[in-house]
Every structure is written in C-alpha cells, then in structure tokens.
C-alpha cells in the first residue's frame, strides 16, 4: 500500500529540502519517490499546502500524578461541553489524556515528551501516556533529590557506580533520559531551607547542587544516552535568577547540557521595580556555548496552573496562587507542587515574562539549539502554540501586542527593537529536525526515506496561528488521523525509552536498598509491559554506548 502526498511545499530542514514535491509513504515509513508513472493506492493533494514532518515537543507536562492532581484540584477549569464523537471516546472530556492526544495531533504534533517523572511515579505516568491517543511519547526520569544518588556521592563512589544506578533508573522507569529539578533543593526544603543556590550544600549529604548536576551530566553522557542531562536550574522565577542560569551554562564545560524553560531564569534586577529582562545576557551566553541547548517556556496570558517537581519554588510561590489553593506533596525524592496561576497582560511582571520568552527565541541565533516550549502548562497551555508561532513569524503582530502591554514593562526588555522573523524552515527546524536530533530519534523529525511516516500538512495561510492550529492532514505511522483539524480516528502510540548497558550487580543492590529502606520489593518501582495495558507500549531507542 503506497500513499502519496502530492504537490505540496515540502519543508524538511534535516535534508535541506524546501520545494514543491511529493512525499511517499509505505508500510508506515517514508519511502524514496518511486519511478515516474507509479500509481499510489491513496493520493492526498497538497497543492498550495505546507508539508512537514510531525512536530516533536520535548518538554510538556501531560501525564502523571502531578498533572492528575492538578485536574482534581481545578475541576472548575475543565468542564466538558461537547457531545461525544463516536470514533474517539472521551476526547471531549475537558482535560483528559484523550483530549491531550487529540489536541496535539490536530496541531500536527506526533511525539511529546513528559519531562518530569519521579521514578516512584513512573508507572502512573506511563498508564496516562498509554491512554493518550495518536501521539508517541516519552518520559524523563528525575534524579538529584534522591537518597540513593546522594548517598553514592557522599560515599565518593566511582563514576561507573553512578552510571549503573542511572542506567537502572532509566530501565526501571522506561525513560528516554534524565532530568534534574532544582538539584538538592527539595532536600533543602525538607530541612526547612527557603532558598537554595547552585553552590549551596545539601546538608545531610555534604554535596552541592553543582556537584549533583555535574555528576548526572557525566553519567548521562558516559552511558551514551542521546538526550543530554535536562536541567531545571535553582532559583526559578526569581529576580536575579539570570545569574543562576549563567552559572549553570558555564558549568556545562564542553559536555552537552540542556537547560529547560530558560525564560523562567531570564530576570535581572534592573529598572525601577527591580525586575527586568536578562534575555540578551542569557542569549549571548547560549550563543557562545555550543554544547548547550535550551527550551524557552514561553509565557502567554491567561489562566493556567503551574506543575513542578521543584517543591522549593512551588512552596515559596504558594502565596501567589490564583485561585488561592495549591498542593505541595513531599515524597521519597523531589516531591511535587501544584500552584494555579493567572498570567495577566496588565501585570508588569507577567508582561516582562512574556517578552523575555520571545526575546530568547529571537536572540538565540541557532534554531537547532533553541526549542519551542511553554513548559506546558506552566508558562501557558500547549494549545497556545499556534499563537506563539505567529508571534515569532510576524514582527507587526508583535508590535500590535507590545502596544497593548504596560509600557514600563516593555521598557525593561529589548523586544520592541527586535525585527527578526522566523521562517517556516526555522520553525520546522526548531519543532521537527532539532528535537529529533536532541532526543536521539534518528527516524523522526524528517521526511527522508526510512523515517517513520509522521507527516503534517498545513494550509499555507497568511494567518499563521490559524494554519498551525488545525492541520489539514496529519499522518501517524503512515495512517491518516487528522483531516481539516479534526481527529478522525484513534491509534495508540508508543513510549520511547533507552536501556543503556549496566553492571547487573546494581540490580541486587537496589533490591537490598528497597528492602532496607522501605520494606518493599523493588519490583514496585518497575514498569512492566503488561501493566501498561496496551500491546507493545514501548519502543527502544539506541544509546551510543
């Protein structure tokens, strides 16, 4: 069975392709164009349309205990309203995993990474992801506030011992990579610290936040895990947090390091209100540090809820909850905090935050190293992506919105002076080719022969938001799943995971550790295929080692 997407403008930055042509699909994969005269079993006319690979979101909180608790905390925000479409059960539930998969697919996204899975909650996250239709997904396992790792560091254990533990965690939790969230900060909060920085010491273990980050960076790299350590820095959201981000960037020291939602660290202390954009400084640092990648975490105005494993930050932010209710959970490692928040266009700080994100997008030169996120839902829900694409591609649209924001806020940013506009190729790089490379997914994010046939076709509208909100056609694994912005049928994606080699002695060690510390079997921490409830729920991604 051959499918032909005919005559569209094919934009495939991984292969330097931008021109009118066909894309051919067979057995769920992209194939070379067959000889002229070959007839396709199905042809989709894409005349006047844009054809790209399916988009990849590297950082979006879509599943797990924290997201689910946010749902239960805020029933008033997600009333369902529509009748049930027969072919897509539960897709009309206001804020369900089913709705999540459909909404992503409608925008042409086909792979999404849930970036904050505490190892003990991995099964829960995978169960939710298994109920998220159409898209493929992956999780990042969070280490760095856990007793076992810090115990190894305190005991000055070897690099290979730490690598074995990281490899064990990746396997047990079926994750694609490792993230660290405010390294040591959750432990500091448990000891009643209210502030914790990069060179502060976790008192019970005698190690600094910097040492935790460096240890995990080296272990991830040493194991050959394609995705570099994914870092949520200390001091998120505070005036002056730019210094923390700059220190962390400098600490990369030539090894790959990914900084998440950099916007939330883009705040200096200049200006009459002691709060200003530090985006130019951060962008300059990122431009100069070729081993560093970042994602933005753009803020958009409106009601949302912040969901984070950074309990220290969320604890300190609890007084700013809008509406006034919040959850702080403490557990065996990071814990979690859920604080609803309403970003207001009339609010000085929120307006600066909005500008900082856009500045980072526009001042970082290389679209291969800056990634498109809102840190969903922390900066804004992922459903705002189309509006952000439009802002990046149109300086007049930006000028209109800047004019409506507090002038004193815009005055402490450089956004009004920036004229850069993203091209469609740069958008495709940032949302397709680059994420696939960053995550080590060789057969995604491009339209070359052999790639998984995840394809998004958009009408080439002047209104870019309209264009990206509702794809004309979306194919997942070669199968048509969206037509004219509407999901036409479900299919069940897989979770992508790595399994680097390890010395199996760590397995016995973890069994003992769980028995001693918890009186429980370490089997409880594992995510077996059968528990997930879908056939072949996982896909193995190869490591370099």
């Amino acid at each position: 069975m051959k499918t032909r997407i005919a005559g569209g403008r094919v934009i495939d930055p991984a292969h330097g392709r931008d021109g009118i042509g066909d894309v051919w699909i067979s057995d769920g994969r992209i194939i070379e164009a067959p000889p002229p005269g070959t007839t396709a079993d199905a042809t989709y006319e894409a005349d006047g349309k844009i054809v790209m690979a399916g988009a990849i979101d590297i950082h979006s909180h879509i599943a797990g205990w924290n997201v689910n608790t946010a749902r239960l905390l805020l029933p008033e925000f997600h009333r369902a309203a529509a009748m049930r479409p027969a072919a897509t059960p539960l897709s009309n539930a206001g804020w369900s995993t089913f709705a999540t998969g459909c909404l992503y697919a409608q925008m042409g996204f086909t792979t999404v990474v849930e970036p904050a899975v505490a190892p003990h909650y991995a099964l829960h996250a995978h169960l939710e992801l298994a109920d998220t239709p159409i898209i493929d997904k992956a999780t990042l396992a969070v280490l760095g506030n856990d007793d076992f790792l810090l115990g190894l560091m305190r005991g000055r254990e070897s690099a290979s011992a730490i690598e074995d533990y990281v490899a064990w965690t990746l396997d047990a939790t079926r994750s694609l990579g490792i993230k660290v969230v405010n390294a040591g900060g959750s432990l500091a909060l448990k000891a009643n610290a209210r502030q914790f920085s990069f060179d502060d010491v976790v008192s019970q273990y005698g190690v600094t936040s910097r040492e935790i980050v460096k240890t995990l960076q080296r272990a991830t790299h040493g194991l050959g895990v394609p995705h570099p350590l994914h870092v949520h820095c200390n001091n998120l959201g505070m005036a002056g947090s730019d210094a923390t981000a700059l220190m962390t960037i400098a600490a990369a020291e030539g090894l790959p390091l990914h900084l998440a939602h950099l916007q939330f660290y883009g705040y200096g202390k200049e200006g009459a209100r002691g709060f200003s954009s530090a985006a130019p400084r951060l962008a300059e640092a990122v431009n100069g540090a070729k081993c560093v990648t970042i994602d933005v975490g753009q803020v958009m105005f409106g009601q949302t809820v912040t969901i984070s494993l950074d309990t220290l930050r969320q604890f300190n932010a609890r007084g700013q909850a809008r509406p006034r209710k919040w959850v702080i959970r403490e557990d065996d490692a990071n814990g979690a905090g859920i604080v609803p928040y309403d970003y207001r266009a009339s609010d000085f700080h929120n307006a600066v935050q909005w500008a900082v994100g856009l500045e980072l997008f526009l001042l970082i030169d290389d679209p291969w190293r800056v990634f498109f996120t809102t840190d969903h839902p922390n900066g804004a829900p992922f459903t705002t992506y189309p509006e952000i694409f439009a802002l990046l591609m149109d300086r007049d649209l930006r000028a209109q919105q800047i004019a409506a924001l507090p002038a004193d806020a815009m005055a402490v940013t450089t956004l009004p002076a920036i004229t850069r506009e993203y091209s469609l190729t740069e958008i495709a790089t940032m949302t397709r080719a680059a994420p696939a490379r960053l995550l080590g997914l060789a057969d995604r994010g491009h339209l070359g022969a052999g790639a998984i046939a995840d394809v998004a076709v958009y009408a080439d509208e002047r209104d870019r938001a309209k264009m990206f909100r509702a794809a004309a056609l979306v194919f997942k694994d070669g199968e048509l799943v969206v037509r004219d912005g509407v999901v036409t049928r479900y299919r069940w994606g897989r979770a992508l995971a790595v399994r680097p080699e390890r010395d199996r002695a760590i397995d016995r060690c973890m069994t003992r550790y769980y028995e001693d510390r918890y009186g429980l079997s370490d089997a409880f921490l594992k995510v077996p295929d059968h528990a997930v409830g879908r056939p072949e729920p996982f896909e193995l991604v190869r490591c370099a080692r």
Binding site: A80, L127, A321
Partner: protein, 364 residues
C-alpha cells in the same frame, strides 16, 4: 473462567455476560457502583459508563470526596507514609479509626520501633481522640469526643496563631501543650482518616499544617480509603478530568457529588440497573426490591438480595496481575498474582459485556 449465576441459578459465563449486556442495553439510567477494582477494571468501567451513558461511583466515595472537597476548596500539603517515617520527628495522629482504616499504620510510620530504614527516633507523638489499640511508648494522648474534633482543632489552630480560645471541650492546658509540641517540630506530620472527620475538620487540620509551615516544616497524611479508591480515582481523573460520582448521561463527563451519589440514586429510584463491582471482597449494600443488579464480585464477597446476574471475578494481585494504589508508597504499582487462577478479571468481564452489547464499537 469461573462461576456465574443468572437469577441465582448457576449459568455458563458467556450466558451471564450476554444477560448482563442485555440488561445494560435496556437500562435508561445505569449506575456502575462499588468499583472496588484495579486500574484496568476502573478503565473498563469508565469506558462502559461512557458507552451506556451511565454514572460511576465508588463504595468509598464518601470519605474520598471529603478529602477531595478540601483539596479543591483550599488545597493541601501531603506526604507519603514512607517519607513520614523517615523524616518526621513529630506526629499528630487524629481520630479513632486510623488503625482500622490502615492496619499497617504502625509499620508505615515506624511507630513503637525503629522501623524500616531507621526512621526518626525520639519522636514527639500526639494522639488526638484515639480509638482503642495498644499504647505506643512516649505518646501523649488527648482524649475527646470525635464530634468535638472540629472545635478542638479550631482551638489548636487559634493557639498556634497566638489567639485566645474559649471552651473547646478539652482543657486549655492540653491545647497549649500540643501547640507547643507542634511548634517545636522540625518536620511534623498530621495523620487523619476522612472516615472520622468531616470536610470542615479536615480543612481545619490542613490549615494547621499550612500555618506551621510559615516557621517550620509540616505535612499531612490522609489515610487512603479502601478498595483501591485512590487508584480508581487516578484513572477516573486522567480519563474524565473528574473524580468518581461522574456521569455520562448527556454524552460528556459531568461530575456532581450529590446527583451522582450511587446510594442516593438507588434510594431515589433513579438508577434502574446497577453494576456492582467488588474485586476486593467488600460486602455489598442491601438493594431494594426490583432493582436490576449485575454483580461482578469475588467469590467471597457478600452480596445483598440476589443479583439478576452474578459473575465471579478474580482479585487483583491474587488471581491475576494488576495495578493498584500502594498506600505505603503513595503511588500506583504493578502487583503480580500470588495464586494465579482462571477466574475472569473485572476488566475482561466488562470488555466481554461490552462486546456482547448491540452496536459495539471501539472502546476507549
């Protein structure tokens, strides 16, 4: 496989499943109740409810929704039992039913022993309105009537804030002593069961926890209700956005703790067909005459007036593998069968019933 009955008489499983499908297809207001099952069973039950426009409720929803009412009105601080054992130097145990609701509570919290992993020693332990049970060395008991708990907690919160209090039902000196102990905590944990406390009292206790965090660290531990209520809650949350007591009568999920209260729907004669799910052996309520009941229950579960259709189901973690809430870890875990049998699981039984219904389509 396993046993099945139609009208109290043994029947082949297929016939019983088909009979259940027929009853549900004919129902105008079906209720899926009990819901004591694993995550797979809950997912199947929610899929069935959507398909037939039914309501889902859980046998322990009363307690569960009291905690949830506080969560969604005021928010909450929470800690897992394991971390409480390892971290807490002060414990405030509130209410008489804790050890009935959590028979492993002493082990979870390392009470009266050093506990696993050498939990904190030299703890302050306050038991407010305790039930019976063995004493715990070093405990400070403050007795009161369970109905007075809200007033006592309010007085305690006022004293913690430095405000004067009037009569609370227990001596002012006792309130003062407890307040002093709580303030001295480096990391305290308040433990309660919503079986004992109404939502106002839970909110008051959570308020005490939040207030104490201004100066020190404190958190809360709500004993999860039984029959995997919190595990089912999680599945319900991600599938519908809402907790149990959600109905699909209008085609989309609507949560209403009063309207979709299963016991109320039965008593008011609104529900005309009930699917009673009890895979953890819990007893069923007494059903009124004439109510059409389909029971998916373990062999040992006590059933009320004979159901129209009864299908014996396996127990998760005993007869078949499953996923359920592990209270000690505070999360969902995979449990392997300890005595694997052929008895059908709730999930498979529901899938078979749905497949036997007219107009079957792809299920969620």
């Amino acid at each position: 496989m396993g046993r099945a009955w139609i009208g109290g008489k043994p029947a082949a499983l297929e016939r019983a499943l088909a009979a259940a499908a027929g009853l549900l297809a004919a129902s105008r207001c079906p209720l899926i109740a009990g819901l004591g099952t694993d995550v797979a069973g809950a997912r199947a039950a929610i899929g069935l409810a959507e398909r037939i426009g039914g309501v889902i409720d859980h046998m322990n929803s009363d307690a569960l929704l009291r905690d949830l009412a506080v969560l969604r009105e005021a928010g909450m601080m929470a800690i897992t039992p394991n971390e409480a054992r390892l971290r807490a130097d002060t414990l405030l145990l509130v209410g008489p039913s804790l050890e009935k609701e959590a028979p492993d509570l002493r082990r979870w919290l390392g009470l009266g022993s050093s506990g696993n992993g050498g939990g904190a020693t030299n703890r302050s332990l306050v038991r407010l309105c305790p039930g019976g049970g063995a004493t715990i060395p070093g405990e400070r008991i403050v007795a009161c009537d369970v109905n007075q708990l809200l007033v006592v907690l309010a007085a305690l919160r006022a004293r913690l804030a430095g405000r004067p209090v009037g009569k609370s039902g227990i001596p002012a000196k006792a309130i003062e002593e407890v307040a002093t102990l709580l303030k001295a905590a480096r990391f305290g944990v308040a433990v309660w069961s919503a079986v004992d406390l109404d939502a106002l009292a839970i909110e008051m206790l959570c308020g005490i926890v939040a207030d104490l965090n201004v100066a020190t660290r404190f958190s809360g531990l709500a004993i999860p209700p039984g029959n995997n209520a919190t595990g089912v809650l999680q599945a319900c949350g991600w599938m519908t956005g809402f907790p149990m007591r959600t109905g699909f009568g209008r085609g989309h999920p609507e949560h209403d703790p009063w309207r979709h209260d299963g016991a109320r729907m039965i008593a008011a004669g609104e529900a005309d067909c009930v699917v009673w799910i009890s895979a953890y052996r819990a007893a069923a309520p007494r059903w009124p005459d004439g109510l059409s009941v389909i029971a998916l229950a373990t062999g040992e579960a006590t059933l009320g007036r004979g159901p129209a259709v009864q299908i014996e189901v396996g127990q998760p973690g005993v007869d078949h593998d499953g996923v359920e809430q592990c209270p000690a870890l505070g999360t969902l875990v995979a449990v392997a069968a300890t005595r694997r049998s052929e008895t059908i699981s709730v999930a498979d039984a529901i899938a078979a019933i749905m497949a036997a219904m007219p107009g079957t389509q792809v299920a969620a």
